[in-house]
Subunit: 191 residues, 2 copies
């Protein structure tokens, strides 16, 4: 018998992604988003959902582009700070000592220190309520060489941070459990 | 200097969620989705993105409802199987020995054995390409008592599975890193 709880954002886990944008003057800004994920395989696409009140929301509406830089868990304090302070009155990159790099594929900067970067062009904007969802087609990926295994990003090397609103915690990743798509069946899923 | 990679679904981490639906005859079906996440705080909402070819896609289009049952990592083999076999020619619940329970809030069943359940009414359907995104307003949450701490779902007790398309792996969660929103700043983020 399960316990019934009121509706809340308690699905899990959520990622901890650093969204890179330019403001009107071309100044790089970063914010932390936990409402994000992959939403389409062809064309490969992600989304981030941001409150309209955020500085980054306006930046994305203007430039129709953003990057997602994925920090390893040694950057959890920086990620937390970047999720709290606003780019309206803080240069969070300078304050945290992180380095913005201009993407040559999209009109947005990414964070050099973070091992995996997703470069996105906004293809859809959906106002859902408090949050607006920005669906971005992935037009490029950049990764540190030591974040790759056989040319593909490796979660165990990148060690992304997890967020859970239920317990209000950041969590690390653990060990590799198993390979997917290994059960013998008639239908193979493209996730 | 980062290495450039072709566009692919290599953002991380992704969740491993079991989507519960009824078919036309009211028979419960489950499928595994890794393209899912929280996309809005008010009203609290999640999405799952499914290929149009899946059985569950048709079920959701018909009933405009689904549940997300979140398995702990001891169920990784069941989750993998449920992601491969199709409900068109398999009763995956019976085959895996899992128990469907009728939600009394939405027109969909959930999995009794999994510690956390999100019950959703579909409020938006977005065809993005290969995948269709089903945005669901969360109308209820159910959890096992031993999955909660102070009445809230606790990731360390639930131990959800992570998926990463880059390394084609399922991974476990690790340890709690820190509390979020603890840096002293002028702007507090509602994530």
């Amino acid at each position: 018998m399960k316990i019934s709880l009121d509706p809340n954002t308690w699905a899990m886990p959520s990622p901890v992604w650093i969204v890179g944008t330019y403001n009107k003057e071309g100044k790089p800004n970063v914010m932390t988003a936990a409402w994000g994920g992959i939403c389409n395989s062809r064309p490969p696409s992600v989304y981030v959902s941001l409150r309209e009140a955020t500085y980054s929301h306006g930046n994305i509406m203007e430039r129709k582009a953003y990057t997602v830089s994925i920090p390893g868990d040694k950057y959890v304090k920086e990620a937390d700070y970047i999720g709290i302070a606003s780019g309206r009155d803080h240069d969070k990159l300078k304050e945290t000592g992180l380095t913005p790099i201009d993407s040559d594929l999209v009109d947005a900067p990414y964070v050099d220190e973070f091992p995996l970067v997703i470069e996105c062009k906004v293809v859809r904007v959906e106002k859902l309520g408090l949050h607006t969802m920005f669906v971005g087609e992935i037009v490029g990926i950049r990764a540190d060489e030591d974040a790759l295994t056989n040319g593909r990003p490796d979660l165990q090397k990148i060690r992304p941070i997890l967020f859970s609103a239920g317990d209000r915690g950041y969590h690390s990743v653990g060990h590799r459990l198993t390979d997917p798509f290994t059960q013998k069946t008639p239908t193979k899923q493209v996730p």
